[in-house]
Amino acid sequence: MSLQVMGKTFRHGVHPEEHKEQTEQLPIQRMPFADRFVLPLSQHLGAPCKPAVNVGQRVQRGQVVGEPGGFVSMTLHSPVTGRVAAIGPRRHPNGSLVPCIEIEADPYSTQEIATSPAVDWESLSLDDFILHVQKAGLVGMGGAAFPTHVKYKLPEGRRCQRLLINGCECEPYLTCDHRVMVEYAQAVVRGTQIVATKLGADSATIGVELNKPDAMLALDAAIPAGTNIRVASLKVKYPQGAEKMLIKALFGEEVPAGKLPLDLNIVVNNVGTMLSLADYFDHGKPLIERVLTVAGPGIDRPANLMVPVGTPVRDVMRHCGLNEETRQVVMGGPMMGQPLASLDVPVLKGTSGLLAFTDESISHAEEYACVRCGQCLEACGNFLNPSRMARLARAGRWEEMENAHVADCVECGACTYTCPSGVPIVHLIRAAKAAIRQGKAKAS
C-alpha cells in the first residue's frame, strides 16, 4: 500500500473550521430535471462558444449545442432532452448579462444520453486526444473552469513529467470532491491513467488532505498494480488546493511568479475533471452534469448532488430546502465563492457548491484600525504583505502595489479571514487590481 501517514504541507496558510460534517457522509444523489435550463456560452476562461442550434430546435441530452469559438474555448452540450426556447442574454452568477442558450426540458422524455461510443483513446495521437478533450467540454471543475485541453497542449520544450491530481478540497463546507473520490474512485484513477499515459507522464500523484481518509483508501484500492499512480496525503490547511501551494506541498518546488506549473513540467487537474474525462473516454458521455455540495446553516436538507449543468440555482435550493432565514447564497466555497444577487442563475461547469448562510452565521466583522499585527503575512501562502497592500490600496497608490507584486495575489482570502481588525484586505486588493487593469487599458 502506497499510503503515507504523515501529511505534507506548504508554509503559511490558515485553518478555518471545516464545517464538512454536514455532508461528508452523504452519498451523491441525483437532482431531478428542472423545467428549464440556461447554458451560458461562456462558462470557462477564454472565448465563448458559438451556438450550433436554432430557437425552436429539438435537442437531445448530450447533443452539441455550442461549438468552440477558438482554441481556448469549449464544446457545449445540452444537459437535457427538450427544445431550444431562446438564445439571448441571461443573468450569469457573477451578475452580468451574458449570451445564453435556454432549453425547455421535455417532461415526457426518458432523458437517454445521446452518447457517442467509447473512444479508443490508446490509438489517438496527442493532438487528437486534445481535440477529444475539447469536444468533451471539459473544464477544470475545482472552480476556476480553465479549459482542460489547453493544459494538455504542451508548449515547445516542455513535457508533462509529473501529473498532479488535486483532491485537496480545502474550502470549508464543500465535500463534492470527497464524495467523488469515495464513490467514483475507479473512474478518477482511470481518468488519471488515461491522461498520464497520453501525456507520457513519469508519475501521477493524487493529493488528498488527511481529513478524507476514506477517499485515500478508496483511491488506493482502485489503483491497479504496476502503475505509477500514487496517493499522497496532505495536512489539512487552506489554501492547499491552490495549485501552486499544492505543488510546493508535495514536491517542495515553487512555481516562479507569473508562470504556470508547466514551467516545472507539471500538469495539475482536479479529481472531478478526471471523473468527467473517464466518463467521456469510456462511455462517450460529455460534461453535462457535475457533483456539487449544497450545504450551510440556511439549508434544511444538505446534500451532495449530481446536477445537470444549467439547472437554475432556485431549483437546486428548492430541492434541498432553502431556509426562510437565509440571508446570503454563495456559489462555490465560503472562502472564494461568488455571492448571488438572484437565485435565477444557472449552475455552471465550474460550480462546486451552493451554500446558504443565515444572519447569525455570516461574520459581520467590525473594522478596527490595522495594528500591523502581521497575522496576514503569516496567512499568505504567496508570502506577500497584505497589510501593506490594504494600506496602499486605500491610498490609491497603484504603482507601489504593482511593485509589491499585487499581481501574484490569488485572492484566496486567507488574509481577510485571519485579520483581527476586520480589514477587508482581499476586497481592497480586488478593487486595486481592477483599477490597475483599467488604467492600463486606458493607457494603451
Partner: protein
C-alpha cells in the same frame, strides 16, 4: 424574467472569519500583564495600584477627549488606551507623584498616539513616549527609586504620591485625612537600582533578587522570572512576534558577553539580561506591533538594533538604563526597516525578480 431576491446580501468572500479581534488581542496582552500587576502590588503595596490606576485614567481620558473617533469615546473600546496606561504605569517608579503619572498618561496618548492619527498610525510606542516625556520633565521624580520593604503594611502609602502639582509638599488636611484612612504615611527612602549601583557604585545585586524581584526599580520590571514566564506564554499564543524579544536578548547577551570577556569589571551578560527594564521592555514594549517591523526579517533587524543600543548606553552612555531610548530609536527606524525587509514573495528571489 429574472426575479430579484432583495433579501440576499451581497457581501463578498471570504464569508468566514477567524473570530479573533483586535480588542481581543489587546485583552490577551492585558491578561499577560496581570501577573506583573499583581506582583507590583505585592512588592510595592497600594501605591502600585494608585500609580497604575492614575496612568490608565490619564490615558483613557485623553483618548476620550482628543480622539477624532465618533461617537466620542468609541475608540476606547479597542482597548489600546487601557493597555498603554497599564504599561506606562508599570515602567514608572512606585513613589512618583500621582499628578505626574496622570500627566504621563495624557502625554502617552496625546503626544504618542493621537497626534499621529490614532491607533495604527503612531511611529513611537505611546507608553514610552509618556515615559520619555516624564523623564524629560521630571528627571528627579522619575529616578527616585524606593526600596522595597520600606513599607511593610500593604495600606501604607508613600507620601510623595500625594504631592501637590509642581511642589514637594502635601497639604496638612490631606495628610491628616490619609493618615486617618490608611494609617501612618512614610517618606520615600530612595535606593539606587541594581544598574545604577553597578554604574555609579560598583556593587551588584544578588541574582536571586533580580530573578524574583527583590530590588528597587519600576513597578513592573523587577521580577524577571515572572516576565519570562508571561512572555513565553504570550509568544506561544502568538500575541506578539517572538523574534523581537529573542533577538533583543540574544544581542544584549552576545554584545555584553564579548565586552565582559575582555573586561571582567563590566557587568556579566546574565546581570545585563536580568536587571533594569530590559526584559519588560523586550517583552511588552518592543513587541508593540504598530511600532515594530511587520515582516520576520525586519523583526530580527529591529531586535538586534535595540540590543546593541541598550548595551552601548548601559556600558558607555551617561545613563544607567538605556532600554527606553533604544526602543524609541528603533521605533523611528521601523518605517525604513519595513522598506528594506519585505517578505520574499512566492516564486521570486529576495530582490523581487521572478525565480528561475
Amino acid at each position: 424574467m429574472t426575479k430579484r431576491d432583495p433579501h440576499l446580501l451581497l457581501q463578498a468572500a471570504p464569508f468566514l472569519r477567524r473570530g479573533i479581534t483586535t480588542p481581543g488581542l489587546m485583552m490577551d496582552v492585558l491578561l499577560g500583564l496581570a501577573p506583573l500587576v499583581l506582583a507590583a502590588i505585592y512588592f510595592f503595596g497600594l501605591s502600585a495600584v494608585l500609580v497604575l490606576l492614575t496612568c490608565t485614567i490619564g490615558a483613557v481620558a485623553t483618548e476620550w477627549a482628543l480622539s477624532p473617533a465618533r461617537p466620542r469615546g468609541s475608540s476606547i473600546k479597542d482597548g489600546s488606551a487601557i493597555l498603554t496606561g497599564i504599561i506606562l504605569g508599570l515602567c514608572l517608579p512606585p513613589a512618583i507623584p500621582l499628578w505626574m503619572a496622570f500627566l504621563g498618561g495624557v502625554a502617552a496618548i496625546g503626544l504618542g498616539k493621537l497626534m499621529f492619527g490614532g491607533l495604527g498610525q503612531n511611529l513611537f510606542n505611546p507608553a514610552l513616549v509618556g515615559r520619555a516625556f516624564l523623564q524629560a520633565a521630571f528627571p528627579t521624580a522619575i529616578t527616585t527609586w524606593s526600596q522595597q520593604g520600606t513599607i511593610t503594611e500593604f495600606w501604607g502609602l508613600r507620601l510623595s504620591s500625594w504631592y501637590v502639582p509642581f511642589t514637594h509638599w502635601v497639604p496638612d488636611w490631606l495628610r491628616i485625612l490619609l493618615e486617618g484612612v490608611f494609617g501612618p504615611q512614610v517618606d520615600v527612602i530612595s535606593s539606587a537600582t541594581p544598574l545604577a549601583f553597578i554604574k555609579f557604585g560598583g556593587e551588584a545585586a544578588p541574582f536571586n533578587n533580580l530573578l524574583l524581584g527583590n530590588t528597587a526599580g519600576s513597578l513592573g520590571e523587577t521580577c524577571a522570572l515572572l516576565i519570562i514566564i508571561c512572555g513565553i506564554i504570550l509568544a506561544f499564543r502568538r500575541t506578539f512576534d517572538w523574534r523581537i524579544p529573542v533577538s533583543i536578548l540574544l544581542t544584549v547577551a552576545a554584545a555584553s558577553g564579548i565586552v565582559w570577556l575582555f573586561n571582567h569589571d563590566s557587568p556579566s551578560p546574565l546581570y545585563m539580561l536580568l536587571s533594569g527594564g530590559l526584559l519588560f521592555g523586550a517583552v511588552y514594549m518592543a513587541t508593540d506591533p504598530v511600532t515594530s517591523p511587520i515582516a520576520p526579517r525586519g523583526a530580527w533587524i529591529f531586535g538586534i538594533g535595540v540590543g546593541l543600543i541598550v548595551v552601548l548606553i548601559r556600558l558607555w552612555g551617561g545613563l544607567p538604563e538605556g532600554v527606553m531610548y533604544a526602543i524609541l530609536l528603533m521605533n523611528a527606524a521601523t518605517p525604513l526597516i519595513d522598506r528594506i525587509a519585505q517578505p520574499r514573495a512566492f516564486g521570486r528571489t529576495i530582490t523581487g525578480e521572478v525565480s528561475a
